[in-house]
Amino acid sequence: MEVIVAEVAHLKKSFDNISVLNDINIKINKGENLVVFGKSGSGKSVLIKCLVGLIEADDGNVILFGKNIADLTSDELNSVRKKVGFLFQSAALYDSITVRENLEFPLRGFKSKSKEEIDILVIEALKNVGLEDAIDKIPSQLSGGMRKRVGLARTLILKPEIILYDEPTTGLDPITSKEISNLILEVQKKYNTSSVIITHDVECARITANRMVIIKNGVCFAEGTFKELSESKDEWVRSFFT
């Protein structure tokens, strides 16, 4: 039986009376990569920001690990968030500190960890993304692909059960995009994480998706595997894959 780690039910969100999400219903199973596809401006990023409580939904429920995040206090929400990793579109590295300090930063909340334990975790996370040599660099010395990798390493350091990827391959060349997509797959296999991948990169979806959802007009318009959707009878759905 599949274990549901996150669920979005009847989610609605609008900005300045413009409705972005009308009625989104999604379930994320343990160990699954769910790709959310859709046109630019269709509300994909808003969806994952609602999922982690960065944006408050107007209506509907977001349930993470069986807890409705709207009912949680800020301390409870923070402890749930430690089980959720988020790779931002821009990687969102703290630009005034080194890669090492960036990776150490999420561990601030774990006072029980010694300096040696933290060092081991940092090096392990960087090895996972193949960037152990960049440990003492500052983010401005890194390329776009390297920044994404460091962002992923920072996400992995807390050993999250769910990872949310916001456009992980946007702005990267096809080779680096493929490397990042393969890295997402490796992370899923190695840590058995569940992932929600927001993208409009077909190649990234093809490599990473176990299941896909396509958003149109603020609702889940189509759902299925990459193969099912790419062979869909609906011309609009099929147009994403051609």
């Binding site: 959720v84 988020f86 579109q89 969102a92």
Partner: protein, 261 residues
Amino acid sequence: MELASIENNNFKSLKGFFNEVARLTRFTSRFFKEAIKPPYEISTIVKQSYSLGYKSFPLVAITGFIMGLVLTIQSRPTLADFGAVSWLPAMVAISIIREIGPVIAALIFAGKVGSGIGAELASMKETEQIDAMEVSGINPFKYLVVTRIVSATLMLPVLVIAADAISLYGAYIGCNLQGDVNFHLFFLQVFQKLAFSDIFPAFIKTFFFGFFVGLIGCYKGYYANKGTEGVGAAANSAVVIASLAVFILDMIAVQITSMFN
């Protein structure tokens, strides 16, 4: 029709003003709530104090020196007309310690630190760094806002003491440019005329200046929007509002001091 449109716009801007005041009030109360709640980010406060205080020292020192020198040179002819040149050290010292030192240092601080904090936080918001902190379970308000406001509150009084001292030295040099005053005699005259009631209120108000410079810088940066344009706007409005706040606070401080005197 046109009148209705003007009235509508006025109402909107009035509503916007009150919304802004309400949000700033909430921001301030959140600061106090978060500041007293452990864990305390002591190492970050120390780091910020170095960044906000120590790095502002050269600018404040140069300004203080020039201020003392110029004030002395400009005051001398008027005092000479009344045959009161011997009053020059005391008069300049009282002006500097009571008013000019704290206000000028606070304005320099608002220009350098207020804009810096505003731009830094706005840029962090724009590049999703604040969101990244939040999703990793770190309280960005505590880490970014509380530490900066506390550091600004603690550092400005230290800078003002330094600015006052350097300014008095500038005044001593100013006295000697057109006259001959012994160093010991100059400072003897200064401290003979300075009373506790000159120094204490002036020192206390600098904590408030520092607090508001930090608060407004953080507030403007934390709520910045409109992308990169918002970064510039946050820095700009942080300086303008913080400078205005310094003058308003100074006016209030003078009224309160006068009441007690």
